[in-house]
Symmetry: C2
Subunit: 327 residues, 2 copies
Amino acid sequence: MKKPMKVVVTGAAGQIGYSLLFRICAGEVFGKDQPINLWLLERNNETSIKAVRGVMMELDDCAFPLLASLNSTSDPVECFEGADVAFLVGARPRSKDMQRKDLIEANARIFIEQGKAIDQSSNKNIKVLVVGNPCNTNAYIARRCAPSINPRNFTAMMRLDHNRALTQLAQKYDCAVDEITDLVVWGNHGNTMYPDLNQTKIGEKKVADTLDATWYTDNFTPTVAKRGSAIIEARGHSSAASAANAAIDHVRDWVLGSNDQWVTMAVPSDGSYGVPEGLVFGFPCICKDGDYQIVQGLQLTEEQKAGIARNIVALEEERKIVDELIG
Amino acid sequence: MKKPMKVVVTGAAGQIGYSLLFRICAGEVFGKDQPINLWLLERNNETSIKAVRGVMMELDDCAFPLLASLNSTSDPVECFEGADVAFLVGARPRSKDMQRKDLIEANARIFIEQGKAIDQSSNKNIKVLVVGNPCNTNAYIARRCAPSINPRNFTAMMRLDHNRALTQLAQKYDCAVDEITDLVVWGNHGNTMYPDLNQTKIGEKKVADTLDATWYTDNFTPTVAKRGSAIIEARGHSSAASAANAAIDHVRDWVLGSNDQWVTMAVPSDGSYGVPEGLVFGFPCICKDGDYQIVQGLQLTEEQKAGIARNIVALEEERKIVDELIG
């Protein structure tokens, strides 16, 4: 039997958490042979604590053989102590009339605190996935507040955008999603995101050779970028199970490998493709041996460069706001 | 690549459905190599149809390689046509001041219709799991209305009770859940259920040899039987993810085997242990080669016989009500 890993999930009482936790404990992220010590970070108020208790009772009621232990706390330092992996799901949602700047400031407080706690107490090789929005910038904040951790290990979730793009394309071309390779959604998990089909293949065929440019511009790109709102309109609630599923895909591939396939991960830029160093940016990545590499050597068209550039602008604006807050 | 299976889920817009569907599509029930044609039965009203559309959008957004096709309909005959497996999750919940008899009658209408549709259009080897309560009697109703299907193939969910009992026992004895074997919860998924530790072992040791009788009577049994209410109290919502997990465990073991371990399944009695033939009753079962067998040859104590007897009484009362309704 393998030694248990310590896994932290924040926002465990929320809807994404509820869709995520049971699949983690069923072995869908770390494998069916990897026991888990699961820690839930709860907010220090009665509603949150009660809701987390309820979730823990249900986790108990599953009798998961891989769940070696289950704990919760409202103390981030205790929660992240020795943690191997963290899913930072909890975030302040946007309330009506809140501007993106207000949202960033409200979330900065949360991710400054969690970044510092990770810096202080976690395993130095911790893998962090930020799901809570604005996830790219929240990951940037946490990384900046955790100087003792390798910056590479703070990532943000663009896999939901990637998966949405896969299915939209599969439906257009009437193919299976796993026939599609070399797709990426560059940039920020926000309106500027750039789903890029320039390198994409279906089987051996390049999509670009037969691409319907009108469909791409008027249908595909806005459908992927505005899918979150469409889900809210249909369900009356924001995406939860599909977001949790993308978090599972992201971390599973990071830990267990992506089988030489491209996946989209938002990771701190190393300067690749002209993206300023440190911005947490959606890149095409290949995962192997518990690590990821940004796919190198792509010859970008002017259209691709422009798609990347608009995301750099968006993320640098957010970085400016949070750099002032962090000081 | 295997040929896709047709899987039907009812109540797809509900909370259990929402916790169940994504795990089915991820391959947790039928294996990571089994493609699925998924059909959702929706109720014919705007709210339900809209909610099901939202869930389908999210399923699309997961880009599950195993999801070969995805459809919904409000026509049961179309939905069950050629179906290989059905999760009957949707049911009329108990409203305030509703007696169990009223609940049974309200649900009888649903399960009579679905049983007839299964009889008319499904694969004759369909495996049916009823999750919607009162699940034992709902399964009995559906079976009675589907005379062309082998009665054995209509089952109801007691696996949540089984899993709850496992964890309560593991916490009491400070052992892992997978060290526990030969546990069963006999009878009805209701207050009379009989969690039975007489045969249960932890490793090589019989639990009965060291059982704290007061704990068993005053703590263990009521905790297992009343767990549903405790979850509602804690969460403000009824068990959803843990119920979905039990449904997954039930059908996965039925299809892929239980590795020679006892699992609790409510199945139509063949007369074993004096349970009247046809009552859908929680028995210890072992699953192998896509089938289940009720564990035979147990020498029952008087206490066990009494525990079984009180469930026979409860289920025969319900059967009497529905036999009159079905005619």
